[in-house]
Subunit: 243 residues, 2 copies
DNA sequence: CGGAGTGTTGAAAACAGTCAAAGACAGTGG
DNA sequence: CCACTGTCTTTGACTGTTTTCAACACTCCG
């Protein structure tokens, strides 16, 4: 990490996070209640039911939100990438398990002061509303994947989503020939998609066998023809989501 | 409906809708941009991709949001009950199909004036943020149902959700002996749960055969022992969701 | 070298889906 | 009043995808 941990001005997620609309005087207040926390890949950030005295922005890395059933079945219900927001103002106890999927840095704000600040800083509430509405859209797209797609379509959809995100970080659109590092294990992919890890492994192998994706090691994905992959998602060619 | 269509003061959803926090002067502005629209059960409200020049609150009835795939597979991604909000400020085109599941009355606001009003009326934006966060929680619970539950658990979960809502309208908690009218056809239930309508029918019959629910006609559900039903959902006894 | 974590592959079983037929019910019009 | 129609629902038989259970391969690391 090469950004200055104290200065919001050099923060890599400054323009997309919950503080994106803040003026410099507002940032100063935020700086006074913020602190950074880091987690190694695989580490828990918080367990469902724990009291949460902070909310946070993901600065670098990936975190997952999941819900577990008594018998161990687990469903991932959120994937937090850099600039995404963690926690809910006004809520004391965490409703989900939060785990660092990769090495993770959070910019945390003490919850009480943050809530107080939201009341007189419309810029924060406005941005949070926008981000929450976007997350709701993403959750609904995810529901279609979970409820109606086949195992193969689910895998293709996940790879498409990850490729698009990777591209958008570089301010591009996803293209043939792009490649990216899979931030998820087979088990995490399975928890995301509502499958077993064996089924994930089989379907990834099948896509590889058919030349729709190439693998370098277990984790690096190369997509020789992006349209070919999109055709496997079951969505229409434009990606399905209307803007 | 016995409420006065002009006066927010007698509106049945006044205390829970997006306008819940508004002062009387704010309500006056809202009244000047609002209008009511009604739809019969089964009627489309808007199609995915249509331009939407209004946002709205559900006053009475039930509406569904769904996403369709090219080949006809359909997934319901939202169920809007009285007081729920429809539409997104700042968005021109509808991303989902909206259908009146039962007879439906909407309190519509012209989108442009509503957006303008949001900027100088923090009460509306605050309430909308709260409602959106609640919807996101509901969507995530739904994801667990779609991704990890068996057909039987899905049906039991849906009935539990509907029973709880029914009870909360009467300001009670769900209890043994409660009954309610199913607002959904078997097909709509299937679209909600990511099942086929045949599987829904079979599982409802099975729960009836085992005495876990009783049916009066096709649509009225009686729950003799609420805990027995909850035990079939796969969640832990307290309902799973932490508040 | 042994062990833990991660991933792959095979065979059998189970669950939900598909296809098909028929029942229940409400509304319509003769 | 009754036959007819259309919609919604139930049930049966069969099929097929995904899960389950099991074994094994690969890599990293002490």
């Amino acid at each position: 990490m090469t950004f200055d941990l104290k200065d919001c001005g050099t923060c890599p997620i400054r323009h997309r996070a919950v503080c994106a609309r803040c003026e410099s005087d507002e940032l100063e207040i935020l700086e006074s209640i913020k602190f950074y926390r880091s987690f190694e890949a695989g580490q828990p950030v918080i367990w469902s039911g724990d009291s949460m005295d902070f909310v946070a922005s993901v600065v670098t890395g990936v975190a997952s939100l999941s819900q577990a059933m008594e018998d161990g079945r687990t469903q991932m219900v959120g994937l937090l990438l850099p600039s995404d927001f963690l926690g809910r103002p006004g809520r004391e106890f965490a409703p989900y398990d939060v785990v660092a999927v990769s090495n993770l840095t959070l910019c945390c704000f003490r919850r009480k002061p943050f809530e107080k600040m939201m009341l007189n800083t419309p810029h924060i509430a406005q941005r949070l509303l926008e981000m929450t509405l976007d997350e709701l859209d993403a959750a609904r797209e995810w529901m279609l994947i979970l409820g109606r797609k086949t195992a193969r379509e689910k895998i293709a959809s996940l790879l498409t989503i990850l490729a698009r995100r990777e591209a958008s970080l570089a301010l591009q659109t996803a293209q043939s020939g792009t490649s990216f590092e899979l931030p998820l294990t087979r088990e995490a992919m399975a928890d995301y998609l509502g499958l077993t890890l064996e089924t994930v492994s089989r379907q990834v192998s099948a896509l590889k066998r058919e030349g729709i994706v190439q693998l370098e090691g277990k984790r690096k994905i190369i997509i020789p023809d992006f349209d070919l992959l999109v055709a496997e998602t079951g969505d229409d060619a434009d990606g399905g989501v209307m803007v």
